[in-house]
């Protein structure tokens, strides 16, 4: 297998682990962790395609990933704030119970 393929396998695995966490866990923080895993799987793809792609000197991949990490950090902050807000309201962070926004 070429290095690119190895990287893609790794990222697919990571993505699946994240997806399973998101779908199966009831704890909001663990769901958030899953989301972060999926995001990082995507980042690995970015780096891999850049490094083994046609223009490895351009630096675009790294910049993309940096932006993506920054966005993830902000998103994590917002997510945690939401988690805290939910905690305030219902004294736990089980997502099954956070159904107030239903129509």
């Amino acid at each position: 297998m070429s290095p690119l393929q190895l990287c893609l396998v790794l990222s697919s695995l990571l993505f699946c682990i994240g997806l399973v966490a998101v779908l199966s866990r009831g704890n909001a923080i663990l769901v958030l962790l899953g989301v972060e895993l999926m995001l990082n799987a995507a980042n690995i793809n970015f780096i891999a395609f850049w490094r083994y792609g046609p223009h490895p000197d351009a630096g675009t991949g790294v910049i993309f990933v940096l932006f993506s990490i920054a966005a993830a950090a902000a998103e994590a902050a917002v997510g945690l704030a939401l988690v805290i807000a939910i905690y305030r309201h219902q004294q736990n962070i089980r997502l099954q119970e956070a159904t107030r926004l239903k129509g």
């Binding site: 779908l23 956070a98 159904t99 107030r100």
Partner: protein, 670 residues
């Protein structure tokens, strides 16, 4: 030494300054406040003596000093000072009696916590009264007149924690103010008829020939001369202040004030103001005498009111049991005498009686104060008695005052002044009724004063308070002695020659004394004294509950007299009710009519709004609403999909993702 009219303001200014000192002192400055008040009074007395000597140098002269108070374009309101024998005599009397009352108060009010304010108010009272005396303008006189009313309000209500005192103060102020209403209107009329309010102004004053002539030459609707109408309105003020029928009701209640205040009100200041006012504007009051064919002369009304008051006051005094109330009604009665004298044309006799009365009434009130002070504020003569022994000085001086008031002949000043009044009343051409009323009042006066002295000082003590009574301190007895001496010495003003009369009214010719009249009055006084002694003195009351001999004889009459002829009840039932009803009516209008109209308008607006809303909702909004309802229903149906379950959403997302991936993969396969 002479005093020019410009300097006359010294006399009222001295006590006024003392009042200011009293007002600015802290509570602890008792001695300074009292000292300033007494010193100012004594100084004012000295200045008044100088003024008197100046005035007597030329009794016919009117020394005036006028100045503008405020300018009203074409006209100006002017004030001024006036010095003539009338002013000077009154000033001397007020300052002298006032100073003695102030000194007496030192002892009487010693224990009061508001001692300082008391002297402040006393000084204000004296200042207002003195200002009234030196005024050469009806306006200035009115200003001081109002201030006298204010000071009396403060002093009568001095013990305001007693509801009766607060009520009495208010009653005095309001009742006299009703009279002042007449004075005010008379003043307005006078100003608008003559363009001036100055008494004497070098020929242009309202009491001078030119103005009087024009006033007597104009007539009002009812055929009255304008001067009569103005005179009667001004007389209303005097009726209020001098406690004349029918506005006398405040004067007995004014007893609620501390006794020195009663003495001041009854002797020197407040009630004297009314008599002084009429004496001052006497030329105006008598201006209509030259007219033969008018329905009414102002002085006729004055004489009849005076006679009614004299008789009524004496009758009521017979049945009173409170030592101060007896004296109060005797004041009402004596003021009636003075008004009678004014009305029958002898203002000099009125002023003479005013002066002598001031001394012996102050003496009597201070004597009563001395009794009350030592008997622990017991004022009911049925519970006193036997004070002759422990209170020798008070008894002796009180007896002198009583004899002066009763008109015991020759030695006592009251006899001479009363004689002058009887003489004048006898010579009145219009009617002899006032004269007879005055004669009856002479008998009654001697009678009730004998009763008062017998009940208070003779017999034996009828209560513990009276039993433990002791002589008052020197600050209280010395003024009594001085006043007693004066009550006797003032006879010299009239006897052996009518000196005072010449000084006050140099133009008057003295008439020979009617010997028969004098004999008649002596007999009447003896009758009063004798019957009083026969009923009350020979067999003194045994206990406070034993019946009054007169009350047993005629219980209904005495009860009616004791209730002061039910005037208070009458006024309460008429004017009081009317007043309350007007107030209630106005309040009713305010709440229900005007308030109701406003509320009605508001409700009307609200109602219109409601109607509009209904119209809007039913018709205009109807179509729009039904469409939006449908949109809303659809939205509701779709919103069911939003379960709120995050995992559910995620599963859908994942499912969608898988389908997308499959599509891409299969598309890629093609």
């Amino acid at each position: 030494m002479t005093l020019s009219a410009e300097k006359l303001w010294f006399i009222p200014a001295l006590p006024l300054a003392a009042a200011a000192v009293g007002a600015l002192m802290p509570r602890s400055g008792r001695a300074i406040a009292a000292g300033a008040a007494i010193a100012a009074m004594l100084a004012a007395f000295l200045v008044s003596c100088v003024a008197l000597s100046t005035a007597l140098a030329d009794p016919a002269a009117k020394l005036v000093h006028n100045f503008a108070w405020f300018d009203l374009g074409t006209s100006a309101l002017r004030l001024g000072w006036l010095l003539d024998p009338l002013t000077a005599f009154m000033c001397v009397m007020v300052t002298f009696v006032g100073a003695l009352i102030f000194i007496f108060s030192l002892g009487y009010m010693k224990a009061d916590e508001n001692f300082k304010q008391f002297f402040c108010f006393l000084s204000l009272f004296a200042a207002a009264m003195l200002g009234l005396l030196v005024a050469n303008s009806l306006l200035l006189l009115f200003i001081c007149w109002e201030l006298v009313g204010l000071a009396s309000y403060l002093l009568i209500g001095f013990w305001f924690h007693k509801p009766s005192a607060a009520a009495a103060a208010k009653k005095a102020f309001i009742t006299t103010r009703i009279g002042d209403l007449g004075l005010l209107l008379g003043m307005l009329w006078l100003y608008n008829s003559t363009g001036s309010l100055l008494f004497f102004d070098g020929g242009a004053g309202v009491l001078e020939t030119a103005a009087l002539g024009s006033l007597a030459a104009q007539f009002t609707a009812g055929g009255l001369a304008v001067s009569t109408a103005i005179g009667l309105l001004i007389f209303c003020g005097a009726v209020g202040k001098s406690g004349q029928f029918p506005l006398h009701v405040w004067l007995p209640d004014a007893m609620e004030g501390p006794t020195p205040v009663s003495a001041l009100i009854h002797a020197a200041t407040m009630v004297a103001a009314g008599v002084f006012l009429i004496a001052r504007v006497y030329p105006l009051m008598s201006a209509d005498q030259v007219l033969a064919h008018v329905p009414l002369h102002a002085l006729t009304v004055v004489a009849f009111i005076g006679a009614i008051t004299a008789l009524m006051g004496a009758c009521i005094a017979v049945a009173q049991n409170d030592i101060k109330r007896v004296l109060a009604f005797s004041t009402v009665s004596q003021l009636g005498y003075m008004m009678l004298a004014l009305g029958v044309g002898s203002w000099v006799a009125a002023i003479f009686h005013l002066l002598t009365h001031a001394f012996f009434k102050a003496l009597l009130f201070l004597g009563a104060g001395s009794v009350i002070h030592s008997a622990h504020h017991e004022q009911d003569i049925r519970r006193l008695g036997g004070l002759r022994g422990p209170m020798k000085v008070t008894f002796a001086t009180f007896a002198i005052g009583m004899m002066a008031l009763s008109g015991v002949p020759f030695l006592f000043s009251g006899f001479w002044s009363k004689e002058a009044i009887l003489h004048a009343a006898h010579g009145w051409e219009v009617s002899q009724l006032p004269f007879y009323a005055a004669l009856i009042a002479v008998v009654l006066t001697a009678f009730y004063m004998t009763r008062l002295v017998a009940e208070t000082f003779f017999g034996k003590a009828r209560s513990d308070a009276a039993g433990h009574a002791h002589e008052s301190p020197a600050t209280m007895t010395i003024p009594l002695v001085i006043l007693a001496v004066c009550a006797v010495l003032l006879s010299l003003l009239a006897w052996p020659s009518p000196w005072l009369q010449h000084q006050l009214d140099p133009s008057a010719h003295s008439e020979p004394d009617g010997i028969s009249l004098m004999v008649l009055s002596i007999v009447l006084v003896a009758l009063g004294l004798g019957s009083g002694w026969a009923i009350y003195g020979r067999k003194p009351r045994v206990s406070e509950t034993s019946a009054d001999p007169l009350a047993t004889a005629s219980p209904g009459l005495i009860a009616f007299l004791a209730a002061k002829l039910k005037f208070d009840e009458l006024y309460a039932a008429t004017f009081g009710r009317l007043n309350a009803a007007s107030a209630a009516f106005a309040n009713f209008l305010e709440v229900w009519l005007w308030g109701g109209i406003v509320t009605l308008l508001a409700r009307l607006g609200e109602f219109t709004g409601l109607v509009n809303r209904e119209a809007d909702e039913r018709t205009l909004n109807g179509g729009f609403n039904s469409v939006s309802e449908k949109v809303r229903g659809t939205g509701l149906a779709y919103s069911r999909a939003q379960t709120g379950d995050v995992h559910g959403y995620l599963r859908f997302i994942a499912l969608g993702f898988v389908i997308l991936v499959l599509l891409v993969v299969m598309g890629g396969a093609k």
